[in-house]
């Protein structure tokens, strides 16, 4: 944008404070999944808020959207995407972003999040959260794109850290430095996954508490917890198919004592148990904090 004198001004917008409809910091939420749609409405809703996988609700017809409308009428709903492709080399998909924006507006989402990763290339969507080397030039690129995403969405945008299974020789910094620099430079937010920190710490041999201590928790929109599996060779895989492991609960407790409160959300995506089991798992989060 130029003013009449011809000087180029770069308008640096202040971070969008998630105050208009922010979540209570002690809130406990659950990823909304089809396996318990019916159970949700069979009794009073005891869950503080829900998170949806944005891509599963982009169509405006069909049962998922009807369930979403009913849930959003009773509880806050936050959006969590898996296909933004922030670190992809191709331009961001503007049509997709507009769909996310419309969905966020529909449910009046307190915030939107996605992952600090790439998800596809050369016209193919890999439907996975993929790692990169961590480099200075990628920090600048990622931060610029995250800032643009937040401006487009018009609401707070959080970036989630990944579970990763490989590291690259060309990285010039640890993951937590890459993550914190991108969030800071983009003036966006952390969507901090405690399980992912633990998974990557074991797979790559770093101290997860070093990671936690690098995070500015005043910029954490939400924390994720989830279960993981261990392969025969010791690699930990982020499967979201079982109870949260004790080691992850311990790290969650550390985070809470370090910088709580923060909204906490349970992700359970495969072999999903009945709703009461999920509610018990959330209650465990409440107990672990004490």
């Amino acid at each position: 944008m130029s003013h009449p004198g011809g000087h180029r001004i770069r308008y640096r917008f202040l971070p969008l404070e998630p105050t208009a409809n922010r979540l209570p910091r002690e809130a406990l939420g659950l990823g909304l999944r089809p396996s318990f749609y019916k159970a949700l409405f069979s009794g009073p809703l005891t869950i503080d808020y829900f998170e949806i996988i944005s891509e599963n609700f982009l169509r405006t017809d069909g049962p998922p959207r009807r369930v979403l409308d009913a849930v959003a009428a009773q509880r806050p709903v936050v959006l969590h995407g898996v296909s933004l492709n922030l670190l992809g080399h191709a331009p961001l998909d503007e049509a997709y972003l507009q769909q996310i924006k419309a969905l966020a507006n529909t449910v009046n989402a307190p915030f939107v999040s996605d992952h600090l990763c790439w998800t596809g290339a050369h016209g193919i969507s890999h439907h996975d959260l993929l790692p990169t080397p961590y480099t200075d030039d990628l920090v600048a690129f990622a931060a610029s794109r995250a800032e643009a995403v937040q401006q487009t969405l018009g609401r707070p945008f959080g970036l989630e850290n990944l579970s990763t299974y490989v590291e690259f020789a060309s990285s010039t910094m640890p993951e937590w430095e890459f993550y914190t620099r991108v969030v800071k430079d983009a003036d966006c937010w952390f969507m901090l996954d405690i399980n992912n920190i633990y998974v990557s710490s074991v797979n790559h041999g770093f101290d997860p508490r070093t990671y936690l201590e690098s995070i500015d928790f005043s910029r954490v929109l939400q924390v994720h917890i989830a279960g993981h599996s261990v392969e025969p060779n010791g690699t930990i895989v982020d499967t979201h198919d079982r109870h949260v492991r004790d080691e992850v609960w311990a790290l969650y407790r550390d985070a809470w004592h370090l910088a709580g409160p923060f909204p906490t959300l349970l992700e359970w995506d495969a072999a999903i148990p009945p709703l009461p089991v999920l509610q018990e798992e959330l209650e465990r989060a409440r107990k672990v904090r004490q």
């Binding site: 891509e55 599963n56 982009l58 169509r59 017809d61 069909g62 049962p63 009807r66 898996v82 296909s83 670190l87 992809g88 080399h89 998909d93 997709y96 790439w118 290339a121 050369h122 016209g123 193919i124 969507s125 890999h126 439907h127 996975d128 993929l130 990169t132 080397p133 480099t135 030039d137 990628l138 600048a140 690129f141 931060a143 610029s144 299974y165 490989v166 590291e167 690259f168 020789a169 060309s170 797979n203 790559h204 041999g205 392969e231 060779n233 010791g234 690699t235 895989v237």
Partner: protein
Amino acid sequence: MKPPVPSWLEGFEANFSAMLRTPLDRSTGTLRAEVDRYPSALVDLSLPRAEIPATERLAVYNRQYWFRLFGVLQNEFRLTCALLGPWHFNRLASLFLQESPPAAPDLARAVDGFVQFARRFPIDAATVNPQAALQAAEIDEGFRNLFWAPRLSPEAIATFQQHTPEQLVTGRLRPSGRFVVIEEYWPLIDLRRSLSAAPTEQRALPAPHANGRSHAAIVAGDSGPIILPLHPLQATLYQYLQRMPLVAALSAIEGKASATQATTLASDVQTWLQTSVRLGFWSEVDPS
């Protein structure tokens, strides 16, 4: 000034994509990552950890890519998967995904085009009757499409019913997307309804229908699909109505009716049309 795309990023992602999409080897009777086929530039860039070589670390992604997509296909095409068995179904799925990799951000769309692929792909008759496998794929596709069917309110149906007989007869009914007509030679719809999710083992092909074939409409209901058994002429009528004006469809049906059927055809057609309107088969009447 936007920061440029890092010069190395596109090449890195191309190599990583090639690794991800390396098909899993089937020669040993299990699905195994072929790490020797990974791009050497990616392997050289990737770090080993303790006793785990870099290729094994990359293989986590390679396996995850394929198993995630197999899972989606097995779930969406659960009847086809049940008849073929997961092992043979995964082969079909792998070939489909190599030819048509997912492009949409919605994972459920990764199966778009699978039926068309299955029609072209020669299914091993030793595994399952190929015609049954294709019927199964079409039934699965029908259930899949109906899941996303638009909701039709009672008001919309009432509005539809206000059309004059002249408008209906000369017009063309616009399908609402809330039904699929199925002609099956085996009781496959029933078999599919017994499968609550992706099957883990092969299911035997049931005995064929005693009278050769059976017709049904799968209809989108408020709490799940409804199966509506159809008279053969009723099925034909609904199929014709999706591609021709009512008057032409009625004429075509009369030509197909036996002398016995013709005696009650007028009242039967009236009942069948009322049923279709009540269940929301049509959303509008377009001038022909």
